[in-house]
Point group: D2
Chain length 375, copies 4
């Protein structure tokens, strides 16, 4: 793995490194950790990388690595930069035969995303988008239960992603996380919408297996002087006729990382939240509430992805690592000429979907919350 | 107290009786418990009432009781009938000098509600609307905290009221509760909207002290053949600029009586749910989560309404009883010629507000979810 | 009902009144509310009782009421005094043909309790002990599940009753609740042991249907100058071979009224706590955790004692009221010459059991925590 | 790091590997993964180790590695074998100048533990015992709060460790985890006592900073034919006069990994459980309940050990990794000739303490639960 972005001090770079290495399948072999060449070198050194594989830019990394012999060169790149720096490295990597793991939202524009979709389809390369919350075992159980019809036809959904860390004007302090997120040139057309709204959208479509057909959005800009949204409330209609609400915010004072979802079907319903990820609540027409736990009783095989026994909590890093593990397993099979185990993770198409979602929400918001298709 | 409706077997009639009598301030002295005279008599007998005060109709009750000497006749009526039977008894009672406790939604139409508002204003009679969830101590704590500015300016709200008991077509079984609720002639223009949506609306405005300025509604009719909504998702904008979502449903499979609210201010936020009513979660910019409990530490005086010490849970009946208790205390002061203790409970104006909310939601839904003012 | 003790201002007197009246089956007709005759009169007046039925002493009440014609006189007495004042009124009432509801612990000594047991057996009168926590629907569900063998043979138990209100020396303030509880002449040989330890003991035996065969106790006296225990830790062995712990305290700082129990059988286990009484957690060898709720799915008939639908919380007063309701139903059947509905509630034998438990615990504690039989 | 035990398929070996590598400070360089040489080789190969560093025995590993040049040879060994195989490798490693990380309970006998304590003291080598639950941020916050006096003098404790996985006779299936645990020759004198009771003991002493002065134990053997305990209930008295209960079990049907503790002081109390490790509940004489979270507000510096922001749950592996991280940081400082950062983790003395605890509990149990000192 070669990393783009994620120099020492970067929150998400460290997460990607820990997650990718957790299962002993992936090794960090090179990186272009910063747009400042010296910083990139320094970061690479701190990560015990050989100096000649700490590159000054992603272009240099991709082109130089390509010249290395197979087996020695990196197999894929992991893109962990701010949003505006996803498309360039992803495109160049795909064009040069490297697989890609990319953070979300995938690109700034729909066109860029469509370009990546085409490149992936044409090259057959692997592309994983780190919608990491899909990596939790109980999310996989939820998805599978709905897929198998346990809940019956889905009628109603609620999804929310609430944070409070931008309730004050942190972008005017030295908070690096905040400053690029409020800057449209780096973040794109969405603020909280892109940063966490896309997670909510992805989780909803991932778990239900349904698509948002149209939405009606009311975005908020509560922080003084903010151009981009820091809050949003959205009505959704799914392609099977279900209806629901989505709410996200980075000004929800006191909330930490409250991503949560409820799905109601004709026969049963389920509830999951990221802050207590190791239980999945299910409610039923004619049975008491049942709570599933990782490694616990009656799980579908798809949910048996945890590394430690039931009652030993897994968290954010492990869920993130499951994306990488599945990506690596598929990739290794291919490198070994074996049939694909078809391990599942969010793909370039989910990335396109997320960007379209952002555009639809922004358009609806501008049109006085008019219903806007998301197709 | 004279009761209109609530014959033996009625769920809500029994609730009103238990709630009104809990604090030893109110006595049931007469009733018109059913539109069928024999049933009314039978119910009255079972309640140990003298036969001559079990009336064949509310008209008879009001007019006959009026002829009794003061001190002997009922002081007020409690209206616990289906929605379409609220206005008639309320109007007649007010016109004949009786105070009123009335269930919600107050009337079928805005005009009817306005008539009652006028009558109350002109007569000076007391009128309580049983938005019973406002009676919980932690709801009062929440309201007071916001009033005192503890949370700072409110920015975001979420309110929901989720039930699952109509997820199947219970109205086609012998479920009396369901059958009138799906019948527009008895329920009015709202189904779940009137039955529980108005509770959500009232709780939101009660706790925040703010008004819904406009809303955008998407109502659902998931039950086969239902004319009225059984589900709704609504975006709201409050009169101070806050934004939020409201969601209610009677087809949320597996949910029991999940009324819950979250309110986010600039300095803090709070969360309360009816199914675990004895805790109020509060989150803060710079302090850990704090959980208030009835009778516990640091409560405002307004919240000290519980009857038993902290840790001894109070529930639905006690909250309901607090409405009656406050109503009775004010009334007794007046009857005794004392200054009003100004105990607080939802009033005829809240009733009008709820009916306007229903009409705005229905109108928005018909107008393709257009923003619709609620004034 | 005639009440002994419970004058205006008494916490538990008010609880008994509300609980007894909740279901409309019981009426307070007289009382000896205080050992000070004027206070008794004053309390009676505030409760709207006729002056001639506000008695100066329990002796006067019992003897005078006895002279009233049947149907007019009280049917039973409710004893809500401090511990040392239970035996006298109970004995006199039974000797004069009155049924009894009595608070716990039943008496100060085993001999007194045995006297009451004999009196009840010889007279055939009804005697209910207000171990009110047995009145919760989920406690009844727990009991029934174990009775039906759902959990298999019971192996392990944990029961605790933790309060913090005596963590400081409240008995030196004007706290009436505290002052008699630390006084052996009024409280008996047990402090927290009698006040709440007996609840824990009763709940354990009630739910499991098993008896504590022996115990090993370590009592604490943490409050300065306290003669009686304010804390206790006890090992228990049940008569079927199960083992477990019991812990109670009134110096557990910050706890409100944390009575909780866990029972482990060969096939499943259950967990219930009084502060969130409306859920019963059950865990299983081969199934996910299931949570039962009052009025919810799959309950045994014995647990269907709630007054409002599922999701509408019942609390402390309702559970308390269920003791009174069951007592009244049995009594009314007898008064009407009907066969007994055999409604269930804690009896005089449970009272004897509780007093024996106190003595065994105190003896074990004195004997350096030696195993002490409880027979 | 060289590993002893933990061949492929071993649960705890994999945990140690993931935990040790999480923070990028430790590398697995060699191992004696199994007592069967071929298995050891095979495991080493699967872990991408060079063949010549996959040793046939721990003796071979220690002696051969010692011959390698400094900087190339392993710095420490990690012992992840069943209990009876801890002492041998630990002793040999210390005698040959290698630092040690060892699983718990440390040894089978007190004498062995004392030998290790002496060796550590005499050699000055580092020794970490993986009482991994001390690695949770909220456990560190709890410890620090008590240390700083926030709770006042400690009066009461409750600790429990409940599992249900041995509720049936799993040792007669192919469950490798179970079979050695019920075998005294491998497990030692304690069954559940050694396996999880020592965790409970350690957590209690770690958090409170107090020592168990004496205990009274009642051990159970519920599984058919089991020689060792699979359940225990213990009364404890701490060296400051506090009292409490300890309960552990591996036959607590339905429990997963329910390690939990409550500590009550004169001014406040706290509650923490391993299954929801990311919250610490604190209760107070005169303030509402406060809940601390990793990365959240008002934490002591000692608790700021999490790797991801608040609301991003860390779990079992991260807590485990914190032991390794602290061990590595101290070790690296020493290797670099820097002053020790004095990072904290359980040591060889905690190991001795745990073994003494086991012996005291077994002795008390044999002596009919007599109070037995633990010194």
């Amino acid at each position: 793995m070669g990393m783009v972005g994620g120099g020492i001090g970067s929150f998400i770079g460290d997460v990607h490194r820990k997650a990718s290495m957790m299962d002993g399948l992936i090794e960090l072999v090179c990186g272009a950790f910063s747009s400042t060449p010296e910083k990139s070198k320094k970061s690479g050194k701190a990560l015990f990388l050989p100096e000649d594989r700490c590159y000054a830019s992603f272009e240099e990394m991709i082109l130089k690595e390509k010249e290395l012999p197979k087996g020695e060169r990196m197999d894929f790149i992991a893109i962990v930069t701010p949003n505006h720096m996803h498309f360039g490295p992803a495109k160049l990597a795909l064009e040069n035969g490297f697989h890609v793991v990319c953070d979300k939202p995938m690109t700034l524009t729909i066109e860029e995303s469509e370009t990546l979709v085409s490149l992936v389809e044409n090259t057959g390369l692997h592309f994983a988008l780190t919608h990491n919350y899909t990596g939790y075992p109980m999310v996989k159980q939820a998805k599978t239960m709905i897929q198998k019809g346990d809940l019956g036809k889905i009628r109603k959904v609620q999804v929310q992603y609430l944070q409070g860390w931008m309730a004050t004007d942190v972008e005017n302090t030295d908070n690096k996380q905040a400053s690029w997120r409020v800057d449209p040139s780096k973040s794109g057309i969405g603020g909280a919408l892109g940063d966490i709204g896309t997670h909510a959208e992805n989780l909803l479509e991932y778990i239900t297996g349904l698509k948002i057909a149209e939405l009606a959005a009311d975005l908020g800009r509560f922080g003084k002087g903010r151009i981009l949204d820091d809050d949003g409330n959205i009505l959704v209609r799914l392609d099977n006729g279900a209806k629901g609400t989505m709410s996200f915010s980075q000004i929800a004072t006191g909330e930490e990382n409250n991503l949560a979802i409820r799905v109601y079907g004709e026969k049963g319903s389920l509830e999951w939240g990221q802050e207590e990820p190791n239980k999945l609540l299910t409610r039923w027409l004619d049975k008491p509430l049942k709570v599933f736990t990782p490694g616990g009783n009656d799980l579908y095989e798809e949910a048996q992805t945890n590394r430690v026994p039931s009652g030993h909590p897994e968290g954010y890093l492990e869920a993130f690592a499951t994306i990488y593990r599945n990506f690596a397993i598929n990739l290794m099979a291919e490198l070994n000429g074996e049939p694909s185990p078809q391990k599942e993770y969010p793909t370039v198409k989910d990335g396109l979907r997320g960007v379209k979602f952002m555009y639809a929400a922004v358009q609806s918001d501008k049109n006085n919350t008019a219903w806007t298709p998301l197709s």
